[in-house]
């Protein structure tokens, strides 16, 4: 692949890899068995996307296990710790809506990402559906679930601006993506009887540099766990 396409594959691949890992941390902790299945299912879809994308950029295992945090290109949203179930659902809602529009555009275009995007958009539609159903249940459920969902929407809001920074090598209209995303997230959050924060979604002091390899503090610890076994046996095959 050409250089810009390679860096675009890394950006999207890292998003999927890191979010998949976070969802994998839920295994055995979910609030109901059905959610054990659903969260693992979403994690697996994302891991599949990550493997395809990283393989477009190089060797999937070298890229996943032998880069340090400054070399990862994922947005900061996906590396945020799981928090409670509401945080996980809001992170998934913000990200799935983004991914669905992004892959929708890519699938309709003409780039090396068309085959991946055509497959991924179907998976992401399911992820979005899952997140939407849960935001409705949490927002319009009990007073406690409402408060937790609102806290999560507020806490993760600052990580959403970064989603719409243009990525070199990705033939995507990011302005249209942002406008569509904002309309959709506003609609579903409203139906859930919740409110979106007013503040900025990005800016000099807010999150926004994941694509440049600037991450939040918990990310290094996540990578330490993910990579330690692979790194402990250099050159081994598994």
């Amino acid at each position: 692949m050409k250089e810009p396409a390679t860096s675009a594959a890394l950006a999207l691949g890292d998003d999927a890899l890191v979010l998949s890992h976070r969802l994998g941390e839920w295994a055995g902790h979910a609030p109901v068995l059905e959610e054990e299945v659903a969260l693992a299912n979403i994690a697996l879809d994302l891991l599949g996307q990550a493997r395809t994308l990283l393989s477009l950029a190089g060797d999937e295992d070298e890229l996943a296990f032998l880069r340090e945090e400054r070399q990862f290109r994922n947005v900061q949203l996906v590396e945020q710790p799981n928090g409670d179930f509401a945080h996980t659902i809001v992170r998934q809602l913000y990200f799935s809506l983004y991914q669905q529009s992004l892959y929708g555009q890519l699938a309709a275009g003409d780039s090396p990402f068309v085959p991946l995007a055509a497959k991924a958009v179907k998976e992401v539609t399911y992820h979005r559906d899952h997140a939407e159903h849960w935001i409705l249940r949490l927002g319009d459920g009990t007073a406690e679930s409402h408060a937790r969902a609102q806290t999560a929407l507020d806490a993760l809001w600052r990580f959403t601006g970064e989603l719409f920074q243009p990525v070199e090598g990705l033939p995507v209209d990011f302005d249209a993506l942002r406008d569509g995303w904002l309309a959709e997230v506003t609609a579903v959050v409203g139906r859930a009887t919740l409110t979106l924060p007013d503040g900025p979604r990005s800016g000099a002091w807010t999150a926004g540099a994941g694509r440049q390899g600037i991450h939040t503090e918990s990310f290094g610890r996540m990578l330490a766990e993910m990579q330690h076994l692979h790194r402990s046996h250099p050159g081994a095959t598994w």
Binding site: A27, G28, P31, L33, A40, L44, G141, E225, L229, T237
Partner: protein, 316 residues
């Protein structure tokens, strides 16, 4: 519902004839109370084992050493949650509920397989669990596909297909380690050394100490005795260990020409009983993790129920 004595006798005779003819007993059929209670106990224990069994493997999801292995492990743990769901559904056909069974698990009033009280200390343990633990489970479970209770038998057919796949993956994981670097080979051998005996204990106490066996065999819930299944498992594993290039940690293990089976050394039943009594390495950890997930998830389940009540949606 009260039944007159002659009517009860007739129902029992119909039930006995159906079992004798290898017909399936279905949820609406009459069945002896003790048959129902035995099945609830066994299916619940089986379901709980799937759910608790997610923990030792999930312990390695975030550390899997390649993306391929990580995907396989995630899929496996997801399958186990699915198996738990099938089995709770099968138990519910007998007039209990998943909530009730989970409460009993959390209160320590129902058991799960003793094997899941052992820790997964290295990556190779994931392979040893696949090969040995799933292998033992399959040896136990394949005959259950012909169990006299229809919903359980049908759940087992689906479960055994997936379990066989997991077992092959575990074997293949160990093979990769065994043929890998010296450190990887040692890791595989160490895991097999730690999991072998606990796997043999999965078949339950010896036949002369197994309290439920005779009745379960008469009802065709069980088809073979604990010791028969354990012997079958040992005979299957010995050649597999050889082709893996690994040894089994039993100096008494050898082929007995006369019996046509492998002889093997004595099992440490004291350890088995200690683990069953709650004194295994991870009993407390496993059950408190399960309780914690359940308690921390309470507000989520309450939210789903409140939403469903407001919107007439089926309960999530």
């Amino acid at each position: 519902m009260t039944t007159t004595a002659p009517e009860a006798g007739r129902l029992e005779a119909v039930f006995d004839a159906a079992v004798a003819a290898d017909e399936r007993i279905e949820p609406r059929d009459w069945m002896p109370d003790a048959y129902r209670a035995t099945l609830v106990r066994q299916i619940a224990q089986h379901a709980h084992s799937e759910i608790i069994g997610m923990q030792p493997e999930a312990n390695w999801i975030t550390r899997a050493p390649s993306l391929r292995r990580k995907a396989i492990l995630m899929a496996k743990v997801q399958d186990e949650a699915g198996h738990g769901l099938y089995l709770y559904s099968a138990a519910e056909t007998l007039g209990t509920s998943r909530d009730e069974l989970l409460d009993k698990l959390h209160a320590g009033r129902q058991r799960y397989s003793s094997i899941f009280n052992y820790p997964t200390l290295t990556w190779a343990d994931v392979g040893a669990i696949g090969w040995l633990v799933d292998g033992a489970a399959i040896t136990n479970q394949v005959p259950l596909c012909r169990c006299s209770y229809g919903p359980y038998a049908r759940a087992m057919i689906r479960i055994c297909k997936e379990e066989s796949f997991h077992q092959r993956q575990g074997y293949e994981l160990l093979l990769a380690l065994s043929r890998g670097t010296e450190a990887q080979h040692a890791m595989a051998q160490d895991a097999v050394d730690r999991w072998w005996w606990p796997s043999l204990m999965m078949f339950g106490p010896p036949d002369d100490e197994s309290s439920h066996s005779a009745q379960s065999m008469a009802w065709k819930i069980k088809r073979h005795s604990n010791d028969e299944l354990r012997q079958r498992f040992v005979d299957i594993c010995v050649p597999q260990a050889a082709s893996l290039g690994l040894t089994l940690p039993d100096p008494d293990l050898r082929w007995n020409e006369e019996r046509g089976h492998h002889d093997f050394g004595p099992i440490d039943w004291d350890e088995f009983h200690e683990v069953l009594r709650g004194n295994g390495p991870c009993n407390d950890q496993r059950i408190s993790r399960r309780r914690q997930a359940h308690e921390e998830g309470a507000w989520v389940r309450e939210a789903a129920a409140a939403y469903a009540a407001k919107h007439g949606e089926a309960k999530a």
